[in-house]
Subunit: 166 residues, 4 copies
């Protein structure tokens, strides 16, 4: 594969953290979900360790690409710059529309299959910031962002589970 990349991995990480922050999600919010998931298996796990892990997950190029693409679709739906029927589908978070799961799953995949369980669990339970994003009732479109947060949290929990073993 050739490449004509213009952005480094760390520049992309910075852009994706900024994009999340503009939509109301900070690294610490995601780290709190990681702690919630993983503290039952590692009693001495700290929020600091979870923050570091979330940061390292966000520094993967593929993670930035998934986040930036999903958030652009949320914003484009919000601004009405998508054509119909996609505009209505994303705005209404249509339950049969699955791309908001497919794009984030590319994040989970990078850390191995044991993260799928946590992804699905978070997506149903909606703890912390995930539930807040889901319950916003004004014109904000949060179709992709809640699943992206689930994916980064699930990937981070997987990374902690793996590294505690090696």
């Amino acid at each position: 594969m050739k490449s004509n990349k213009k952005f480094t991995r760390l520049e992309l990480a910075e852009k994706s953290k900024e994009a999340l922050s503009e939509r109301g999600v900070e690294v610490k919010d995601i780290a709190e979900i990681v702690l919630f998931l993983q503290v039952k298996y590692q009693k001495d796990l700290t929020l600091e360790c979870c923050i570091e892990t979330v940061e390292s997950v966000l520094e993967k190029r593929e993670v930035s690409y998934a986040i930036l693409t999903g958030l652009e679709l949320d914003k484009a739906a919000e601004n009405g710059t998508l054509d119909e029927p996609l505009l209505s589908i994303i705005k209404s978070d249509d339950a049969l529309y699955g791309l908001d799961e497919i794009i984030p799953l590319s994040i989970v995949n990078l850390y191995g299959s044991i993260g799928f369980t946590n992804f699905g669990y978070l997506d149903k339970l909606k703890p912390g910031i995930i539930g807040e994003l889901d319950s916003v009732k004004n014109d904000t479109v949060n179709t992709f962002i809640d699943d992206l947060v689930c994916a980064v949290a699930a990937a981070s929990a997987t990374r902690i589970a793996h590294s505690s073993e090696e």
Copy 2:
């Protein structure tokens, strides 16, 4: 793609139902989980409808292949016919071993991405027969079967959600 198939789709479905039944799982057990998942969105959903849907999911060739392969691995681990280190890994249901998620996810994939959420949720919550399989304490190896049941239930719920819309 060429093929040198010796078994029809329905013969394979019969074999996979027999294999599940030998390990203690009946179609009705899976249908009860589908009902549990989906009745909150469709109040008039019946167990009969869930049974029919599970049957139709089990009749897909790829579903049979995933079930037969996963159950063979459980049985081979139980009978000690696998080499080390895989024998110990599957017998102990090692948390970092992810093939017991990967093989069932090929079932979920066939019905589209909205099933992933239910798969992960069931895998954590372990309602009904899933919890029973997981808590067996003798020499039985149930590493793959519980995830296979989660996958068939999640796929069936997705199929019901889709068909109620069309």
Copy 3:
């Protein structure tokens, strides 16, 4: 899963065929690739049969969603309505950007894993319309569309392989 769907499956199929046609891809173009892939295994396969199969693949709700989403991203990049850095990444078809594979793979997944091989093969070989899309040199952005065509063709070939067996 609940739903607040506004479009039927067939309406979505119509919209996605229109969207492909606007970008220069007709059902027949995809059917020709299916014939190229599959005729070596089924000597009597006709273009008509391939056209019918492509039509039936395009009628799946998840397929329409993937096509509509990918084409909107191509168009948004072309129109400059995406923010940086995503705009440059999609415009330049950056080789490390993988979403243009991830979104189409959700189409391949629906027909089972044997389609992956054909997807990758088409993506490298670029026969017919795929190569034409890839070699457009003006300001057109064809980052997603070529992979979407590969995916629909690979899924259709899989469907033909399966149905010839049952």
Copy 4:
């Protein structure tokens, strides 16, 4: 996720290299395929660099699990220790059986989606050791191993493409 792991990551890598070698595949064979794939994009790429990359891919825990599981299924089919119908299906490398793609794809996934294209391409083209494995005509069962080699080679090429950019 908890774990009751008994093997380190590097012990598993050693076991999976031994298992590949017993079936006639050496690290160098895989590295030659990586070189074939990637040298057109990086003229100065050496076989030594490809060998190092294949080694590092093989040291991932999930990669070892996929290899060990796939090779056990090949061996069990060869030894006749699987039940029917799975025994015949794996022995005949039935074209509709897709688990021999699904298990290796869990390797490709770990390095991001751009590897899918190379996986499918190798699986069709069958260069080097892949073609040799595929053409063995005695009682040897090589249903999984050729796809596992494709996956490790595709993942390694992806890793080289990414690291040349950072």
